[in-house]
Amino acid sequence: MIEHQFWGAVLRVMQAVAQASPFILTGLIITAVFRRLLGQANVRYLFGEGTRRSLPQAWAMGMLLPVCSLGVIPIVREMKRAGLSGGTILAFGLTAPLFNPLSVLYGLTLSEPFTIFAFMLASLVVVTCIGLLFDYCFPNSTHAEAEPAPVQWGIKRVLAVLGTMGRECWSRSTLYMLVGLSGLIVLSVVLPKASFQSSVNADNPWAPLLMTFVAVPAYATPMLAMSQLGSMFQHGNSVGAAFALLILGAGLNFGIILWMFQAYGGKRALAWMGILLGVVLGLGYTLEKPLTPTDIEVANHTHAFDVYCCPYAGNESRLGEETWRAFRNDLRPEESISLYALLAAFLLGLGWLLLERRYDLERWLSSIPEEHARGVKLDFVLPNWILGATAIVALFIMSIAMCFAYYPPPGECLDEMYIVKGEVLSSALSQNYAHALHWLPVWEDWNRRLQVGVYLRKGRLSEYHRMKARVVQNELELLEHAMEDDERDEIRQLTTGLARAQLRLSRAYREEL
């Protein structure tokens, strides 16, 4: 049993590192740009420090920048170094991992887009209330640290940004991230396989509270949290629990909590946590009734939280191989690339630290190039803050542009679904359930991307097209359950129904848009 729990925890941590890697990389880039190009004064200006709009501004910045609750750690540390107030930092730190353009678009095409708007506004209420209270109760939370000398132009600016990214990998940020991942180990050990399927049903008054205890140690990327929200709405689970999952599951982890204790002290951190949990639970219970969808058939379970439970039931063998196989199967191409990039950042950081032992790199970075000092160069040198602002704006633009790549046009989605359909149906019929169950979420994912892709390009998605996709989704869920229960007659019937539903979906999206 201990062996299963060990390998289960290993798999969950590996999966989380892979999912987090693009966001950690983004977090490192933002941190380096803040420190080396923007500078402390401009970072304070960017977040409206000292003005009334600082909290909503931090919320808006958090909405646009694509980071998760691990990737945000180096950024909040840099914000603290820049002398921003605790309320503003915590508002940004809590919002940035909740939403990004990709996940908001995903949420808006769910059956209840109003709920997503309500959740977004509720998150603004949460961060504003907590930020105001924090700054009111603890007014002296700002403390700017010494700033490195400005980097001079040319290749030095690029090297300074890369070097800062690398150095940050070998800083306490990584320690906090590892502590953040420890929550997954706790959950994997505490929660047996598939044990959280019916715990947050809408008729359970404890559901928001229960979810709070699971969501704090859990780690969820913005997209994972949004897809779990979608699954919860679809299955008629508790809306209050969904809200707690979004704010605490995506926004918080043990690493951020530890950082808070070290940065602000136990009293302030406990006060902030207390207010946060109180506001989230209060809002969760308030939203429960008005936002519960009325047009869905309530299911008595959900698979959305299987990812937080131990992946092994206890009857598997060769767990090491199985863990590696499961990790490789779940690894997406963008995660794979980000993992290599992250590895490169770590190596670069190591090299930078070793070089710093022998040479004064800071002095070299801040020294004016000789040819310019002699007045040979006549070209105009852009100030660092312009490059920094451009980099941040480029990140905003990229996070929006990436939506078009992540949610391709319907034709591409349907071509992918056609391939996945073959894998699922053939393996389900030949009783190769493990293979079918691996591909089934991929089919579900493309089904969602298809809808979001149309919404993104047309500005709306008709009820007709939503319903065609919902039929496929329902059939996929039924097939999943039938395979889990080895109901062979039902599987045969469902594969036929699914093939027809997919054909109708394809016709609707290709010919009737």
Partner: protein, 144 residues
């Protein structure tokens, strides 16, 4: 560090305590499908027409089942070869049926509902006619 370690332990213990009720849920999977949910759009239209013909003797349960079936119409129609325009008409019919069934005692409303159900039956016939998989028509007589 000591304080944060304590926090980790507190969270873990609280989590363990709250999750004591989480049993491994491996025996029962699946979504409960109500017994009165028709298998196809054709059957749903047929069932609604039959139920409507005896609406004078409805119990509260009969009325609720009629409402349920009317609510399922868009989903069932999406499982047919009906075109987008035809499906949107089914959706409108469903919404009107749901809105007006409360006032079925009113003569004008009753006449309207009868007309809507006739139109629904026509659409169901169309769906059965264009059904390339022959999945709409019942293989055996409906229980309704």
């Amino acid at each position: 560090m000591k304080l944060s370690g304590c926090i980790n332990v507190v969270f873990s213990l609280c989590g363990c305590w709250l999750l004591m009720g989480c049993q491994t849920d491996s025996e029962e999977h699946g979504h409960e499908i109500p017994a009165h949910k028709p298998a196809s759009f054709y059957r749903a239209a047929d069932s609604l027409n039959k139920r409507w013909s005896v609406c004078d003797n409805w119990s509260a349960e009969d009325r609720q089942q009629f409402v349920d079936i009317a609510g399922w119409l868009p989903e069932l129609a999406a499982q047919t070869e009906l075109s987008r325009l035809e499906w949107e008409r089914v959706q409108e019919l469903s919404q009107t049926l749901l809105a007006e069934v409360q006032n079925r005692q009113d003569k004008n409303v009753a006449a309207t509902l009868t007309r809507l159900l006739t139109e629904l039956a026509d659409l169901a016939e169309t769906a059965a006619r264009v059904d390339q998989f022959h999945s709409q028509l019942p293989e055996k007589p409906s229980d309704d």
